[in-house]
Symmetry: C2
Subunit: 284 residues, 2 copies
Amino acid sequence: MTLTHVIYNNPDIPKALLQKVLQVSGPSTSQLYDENALDTLNSTHMIFLISPKCPPVAQEDDAFLNKITHILPNKKTAVLVLDSQNSLSISLLAKIRSLSRKNLLYSDIIDTSTASDEETAVKLLSMRRSLLDNQDMPVSLLNDWLKEMIGHHNTCTLCTGFGTNIRATPIEFTYHEEAFYFLSEGGEKFANLAVNPNVCIALYQEYSGFDKLEGIQVCGAAMFVDLFSEEYNTVITKRQLTPEQLKKLPVTLHMIKVLPHRFELLNSLFRKSGYEAKQVKELE
Amino acid sequence: MTLTHVIYNNPDIPKALLQKVLQVSGPSTSQLYDENALDTLNSTHMIFLISPKCPPVAQEDDAFLNKITHILPNKKTAVLVLDSQNSLSISLLAKIRSLSRKNLLYSDIIDTSTASDEETAVKLLSMRRSLLDNQDMPVSLLNDWLKEMIGHHNTCTLCTGFGTNIRATPIEFTYHEEAFYFLSEGGEKFANLAVNPNVCIALYQEYSGFDKLEGIQVCGAAMFVDLFSEEYNTVITKRQLTPEQLKKLPVTLHMIKVLPHRFELLNSLFRKSGYEAKQVKELE
């Protein structure tokens, strides 16, 4: 079970940022660093928020570093420095980097006095994926599960958007040669796709208990398939439709294709085989 | 059954824009205006794309106007003028506006030589809602259906995003006093919500036949509910949880509340009562 411990060394860090870090990196808990704190951790992942006190106290940072030295090479770790103007923070980050070796999976600077909400969000998203993406299941087994879980569904939610405009569309799909295909008479999603081809697809079972969770999230890029092209005709044939039938319709059935580049699978059954319930598969 | 007829008067209009108009306003079909075309229409809605020929021919526009004069007051109509530089187009739009009276539900200018993809998308989305939003079912009956259809589900897709970043999250919900509540240990959706509170929620049944379509799309604004506030405690109690239980957990369960401002309901059963299968409910 994943648990991220967010450790900060300065009680005066912006509370709103601490909250965002906690939310984005959850399941999580936070703790102000003190002498005894680090001995009691049962977390799987650590995020250090480093923000020197004002005025900075070099000895405190050294004491902090000494305290975490034995943990750094052993736990998957991320470090966020919250003040780029302070040379002590930067040198602290450099020391952490050299101590953590391969377990420091993400480090970055968020200058809380100048960073926009968007910049902060992009860094936190990147931190989450670097730190928490998991794939301890063998790829071939993961692929089998993916195929089986997709096969449980014929309908998904296709999410599209641009700017602050978000759209969730329940829609039937055809999964063919590792792509999702959708037939649609039209609608708002097409306006979104004309601006932003990035989409996210969700497939899931209704909740029926914590031990029966099953869901897939797919990130991908959408494109249109030419009407009555070979690919179009192949997909409609899989739906028991013929080009002749569709040509007789008074309206056009547009085809959207989504090429996945990331799958996130959640399945309680994975645990029974000794794997984490959440698995991530990234495609090139 | 809705069918939008897209009529354009100039064979040289940008094909990409015609395609977008068709897709966003679908179910739809398009037709280049000619002498005989308008007598054969069985559409419920019309969109006129007006783009004068180069060089413009005033007589042709007048002929076009004469041809559509009898249709304008009778069908729900939108007009897009595709060239703001041409005074003939603008005067044609003014004439159409005066003839259509209440049935001209949307008119706008898209200058295809300067409009960005975003500007065009925003106008097409606005046109679609102005022209095609439907609520022919009495409000009290629609509210009953809404409550019943939401009651069929305990899980939905919560869609969040900002910029080109889109996220679809399957998540259990609690519907309480006309708001959706979600409990979450954390994740990418929180990074999106920190930038953009606009969300879309989808609830649906897996596809089991064209006569059994059922789905809801909800547009709303997300906010966080303070941990262990009265509202928080009320909602977790509805989930058979107690504050004491949650306080013992090693992690924080964040609560997201979504206040809906728009519902789109799709239900094949509406047709059996004589209403359109798609109904829209907008809140103040």
